[in-house]
């Protein structure tokens, strides 16, 4: 049940930030939305997909972010408003087209939402995507509240259409995934007819005059931003300190000031439009305070831009040079997510205000209480996850091969291949498809003495997204490695979105499934398909493949355990015979709980035996084949 299509203007509802963005897109009259899922952005297009039919819009999961952007822009070119959303790594993928798109321009409103992930909760880097706005001369919004998330998206569509250029909206995890009150506007239900005007093509040439045009658009955007209600100052007229902040920094700043009782002496200039920075607005507020502190997520973006403007304006304003605090001065950390404590700490140092938020023993008490209430868990694969079985076989085959072989990891749940849950197999990690790209290169180093077998892994969705070109490259250049495609039939890590191999589109309509095996076979590479739960068969094939020359693909096909749970009953009822379990003795020493580590099996500290956790065991039965003593019994359920 989605709330984003609630037709109740004026009503205030609780919304997740991503839902608020989706709602803003609907209120802004989008007719098309396209994306590749990526945490923390996935729910934007996901929630639009849920209401697609009702709202009469087209929503798709695209094969990757670049294609998603292209699909969204096609709508703009044909006169329809559209939106695409991605995580910061996705923006990197889309950036090739994005940075040319600004030259060619767009037509109807098109907004690119990028959701950064400070502290990298679910990402492979910690990136400030606002840099792309600057590189590409793209107008940029940063919502600080859920209401703004909605309102800015709607306004961004209008501005985009006005300027005929794409507009970016940058969120962060705490905007995307937190919830807050949003007062709804009306749903316009734009029903434009799509038509591409062949007399107005979208070319990048001639680049230089068009580049000049981009700067004209940017200047116009700046004019709008000078008076934008998304930028505002709150606090005393002449504060001891002015904090300039954007995005989630606003909430932390307000909370810190309230905690320290500084509301009457510290002012906040909240910026909602952060590229191009409205200079006159900055000039208006700069004289307020001698000391200025920047609070923003990831890079000193506002900090650098405001300081640049300040250098230009200070003589004309006839003010003394301001003292700036922020990331460059070390008052706000250069890495890691902001929080109230970090802002409090900066304020203490800048103002010399003593503040003890809590007694020193508090954190310790919390940790101890947590121990009691929250079971300690390490990051790992779910019970019954096929990836565990796949990696188990890969681990054994690599060990048996005995040439110091290794696995090049990729992006997906199986990124856990770097952890003990994945037997610490992955020795490299990078971007989508990087595992296979790197393997491609390793496979060509033979002439320089490289003799280690290499196996790359990637999921089914990642295969389509970015690993496919690497495989084509490998075959074309006659590389030498094994590519293992872990086909679990879904985009599991981001929340079970469909992909080209699934046979259903984003809104659930059945369609042709693109067959990974056929694609690989068409490249004339050696292809093997196995069930990862067949440990013996999979191990044997892998052992053989490691000895063969050339590019070899093994597809390990098994439905994601979580997805399977939704529709099927467990295939086996698993229990452990305590008489047969030899526990810590020579001959086992807890292979199931110590090495295989499926959370569905627990170690009974008192009995010194393993036992099945019936609450979470999904009955895959793989552990029965791992047990050396046939103590784990699987019975057909």
């Amino acid at each position: 049940m989605s709330i984003i299509d609630l037709d109740a203007p004026g009503q205030t509802v609780l919304m997740m930030g991503n839902e608020a963005i989706a709602r803003g897109a609907l209120e802004g009259g989008i007719q098309l939305a396209a994306a590749y899922p990526g945490t923390p952005s996935s729910e934007i297009i996901g929630s639009l997909a849920e209401v697609a039919e009702k709202m009469g819009i087209y929503v798709e999961w695209s094969v990757n972010e670049k294609v998603a952007l292209e699909v969204a822009v096609s709508a703009s070119m044909a006169g329809l408003r559209s939106i695409t959303a991605m995580k910061q790594n996705g923006l990197d993928v889309a950036s090739d087209y994005l940075l040319t798109l600004t030259i060619t321009g767009a037509k109807a409103g098109v907004v690119l939402v990028v959701c950064d992930d400070p502290s990298s909760h679910s990402s492979s880097n910690e990136q400030d995507s606002r840099a792309f706005a600057r590189i590409g001369d793209i107008p940029l919004f940063e919502p600080s509240t859920f209401q703004e998330a909605k309102d800015m998206t709607q306004y961004a569509l209008e501005l985009s259409e006005e300027l005929k250029t794409i507009v970016m909206l940058r969120g962060v995890t705490r905007i995307s995934h937190a919830r807050g009150n949003v007062t709804l506007g009306s749903l316009p239900r734009l029903q434009r007819r799509a038509k591409f005007d062949t007399s107005s093509p979208f070319h990048y040439a001639p680049v230089v005059p068009k580049h000049a045009l981009v700067h004209e658009k940017l200047a116009r955007a700046k004019e709008y931003f000078e008076a934008s209600p998304f930028n505002r100052y709150e606090g005393p007229d002449r504060p001891d300190l002015m904090i300039i902040t954007s995005g989630s920094g606003m909430a932390y700043t307000r909370e810190a000031l309230s905690l320290m009782g500084l509301e009457d002496s510290v002012g906040i200039l909240k910026m909602g439009t952060t590229w191009p920075v409205p200079e006159r607005l900055i000039g208006k507020h700069l004289p307020r305070a001698q000391k200025i502190l920047f609070v923003e997520e990831v890079d000193p973006f506002l900090e650098s831009n405001v300081k640049e403007i300040s250098a230009d304006l200070t003589p004309a304003l006839e003010i003394s040079p301001r003292t700036f605090y922020g990331k460059r001065s070390g008052h706000i950390p250069m890495v890691g997510e902001l929080n109230t404590d970090r802002v409090v700490d900066a304020l203490k140092r800048v103002l010399g205000t003593p503040y003890v938020p809590r007694d020193a023993a508090y954190a310790k008490r919390v940790r101890e209480m947590n121990k009691e209430f929250v079971p300690e868990r390490v990051l790992g694969f779910c019970p019954g996850c096929p990836h565990r079985a796949s990696l188990w076989s890969i681990k054994n085959a690599l060990k048996l091969d005995d040439r110091d072989g290794f696995l090049t990891g990729d992006i997906g749940c199986y990124a856990l291949a770097r952890t003990p849950s994945g037997f610490s197999l992955a020795k490299t990690a990078g971007a989508m498809g990087t595992g296979t790209g790197l393997a491609c290169g390793f496979g060509k180093l033979g002439r320089f003495g490289f003799d280690q077998p290499v196996i790359s892994i990637c999921g089914d969705s990642t295969f389509f997204h970015a690993a496919m070109p690497a495989l084509v490259n490998a075959q074309y250049n006659r590389s030498n490695f094994v590519m293992c495609i872990l086909d679990n039939g879904t985009t599991a890590m981001t929340g079970f979105q469909t992909h080209p191999g699934v046979g259903r589109n984003a809104v659930g309509v059945p369609g042709p499934a693109v067959d990974i095996e056929s694609i690989c076979r068409s490249l004339k590479v050696k292809v093997e398909v196995r069930d990862p739960f067949d440990l013996k068969g999979t191990g044997e094939v892998l052992t053989r493949l490691f000895q063969e020359e050339g590019v070899k693909v093994i597809i390990l096909k098994r439905k994601c355990a979580l997805q399977r749970l939704k529709g099927e009953s467990p295939p086996y009822k698993v229990h452990i015979d305590p008489d047969k379990c030899i526990g810590e003795e020579c001959g086992c020493n807890r292979v199931c709980t110590r090495v295989f580590r499926c959370p569905g099996i627990i170690w009974d500290l008192e009995a010194r035996k393993s036992k099945v956790d019936e609450v979470i065991c999904v009955g895959c039965g793989v552990c029965a084949d791992v047990c050396p003593n046939s103590a784990i019994v699987k019975e057909e359920a």
Partner: protein
């Protein structure tokens, strides 16, 4: 718990040192050791300080004097040959057996007989269908024994099969046929008193040792044969006794002869450190005949060292049942055997001292082993 050392020690002392013979004694006991193509690999560690893997391994140090005294009380001890109750020249009476064997087919005939007569109820053997890629095979019916006729030169980890069979706890008198490294491991297995499994030692019915000069590196042999013939067309590989020293590779397209000079460089590395030619730990040890009468006289015949009473009883039974044909083994045969065996011991000691660079570091060899202690002073 068994043993004084564990898998980490085994990995350090044996696997890393490349002393592993891939006998399979450490495989099949737990989930952590596996074998492929003549290699044993520890895929994970059990993290235990002590384990059967280390205790059973024929390349870990053991008190050999004690081990010999526990199991060989009946025979005379000959330093070059071990326990000795007699030497015979034999061959299988059945021509079909002889036709498929390297020498006289006596092992096949004896195992078949032992199983028929209930001396053993099953056996762990080695099977090699096409001369390459041999594997251990468990049989419990006499009619299956002949699948294992003939020799293989890559040595498969057959004791993995024995471990699995023992774990199954179904058979009580298991026969084992194996090279000296394997049969030594079988005695080390029997020597241990398991708290968890007191019955296990008595479940070995008879041990048939095979004379062994060396085995060949698994992949080395494959590459060698591949360079001369298509692997799929190879039917049989043999080194028949002759003064010419050749390996014969029978293929669908005819016979290829490889001089042993070409084979020596691909002898399994670990075999260079083996001091046992005659499988001193066995009830009966069997090899090709080497008499003073010459190759023609010996061809198609085995020589058997009887080491225990139960071994002698089986050989007598074979004579009574007419399963084996016998020839008198001349005293000169014994001298020849002693000399050959002694040579292997000396070479092994020499190779080990070269490897360690220390005359006092003999790796797994026990300097107080009565079969070695006479040789050591002159080696040093």
């Amino acid at each position: 718990m068994s043993g004084t050392k564990g898998p980490a020690d085994l990995e350090r002392e044996v696997l890393k040192e490349k002393l592993c013979t891939a006998c399979g004694a450490c495989v099949g006991l737990c989930p952590y050791f596996s074998t492929v193509q003549g290699r044993v690999v520890m895929t994970d560690s059990c993290n235990l300080p002590q384990g059967r893997c280390h205790a059973f391994c024929p390349r870990t140090k053991a008190d050999m004097r004690k081990l010999r005294s526990v199991f060989f009380k009946e025979g005379q001890f000959i330093p070059e040959l071990g326990s000795f109750l007699g030497l015979s020249m034999t061959r299988a009476s059945d021509e079909n057996i002889r036709a498929g064997s390297q020498h006289g087919g006596s092992v096949t005939a004896l195992v078949e007989l032992a199983m028929k007569e209930g001396v053993i109820d099953s056996a762990v053997l080695t099977r090699s269908d096409h001369g390459l890629d041999p594997s251990g095979l468990f049989v419990s019916r006499p009619e299956d024994v002949r699948q294992c006729l003939g020799s293989s030169f890559q040595i498969p980890p057959g004791l993995e099969i024995l471990n699995r069979t023992l774990k199954e706890n179904r058979y009580r008198k298991i026969g084992v046929v194996g090279t000296p490294c394997k049969t030594l491991a079988v005695y080390k297995m029997q020597n241990r008193q398991f708290e968890d499994d007191p019955q296990q030692p008595s479940r070995i019915g008879m041990v048939f040792g095979l004379f062994c000069g060396w085995g060949i590196d698994w992949q080395g042999l494959e590459r060698m044969v591949k360079s001369k013939a298509s692997l799929e067309r190879v039917k049989h590989i043999d080194i028949p006794p002759s003064q010419y020293g050749i390996m014969e590779v029978e293929t669908a397209d005819g016979r290829i002869e490889i001089p042993l000079e070409e084979i020596y460089p691909i002898i399994r590395y670990s075999c260079r450190f083996c001091a046992d030619m005659t499988a001193e730990f066995a009830d009966l040890s069997i090899g090709g005949a080497r008499s003073s009468a010459g190759w023609d006289f010996d061809r198609g015949w085995n020589q058997i060292i009887v080491r225990t009473k139960r071994g002698k009883e089986l050989l007598d039974l074979a004579r009574d049942r007419g399963v084996l044909e016998f020839r008198e083994a001349a005293p000169a045969n014994l001298d020849k055997l002693k000399k050959a065996s002694s040579n292997k011991k000396k070479k092994a000691i020499q190779a080990i001292i070269e490897k360690t660079g220390d005359v006092n570091n003999l790796l797994y060899l026990d300097p107080f082993d009565p079969s070695l202690e006479n040789l050591l002073p002159e080696m040093k």
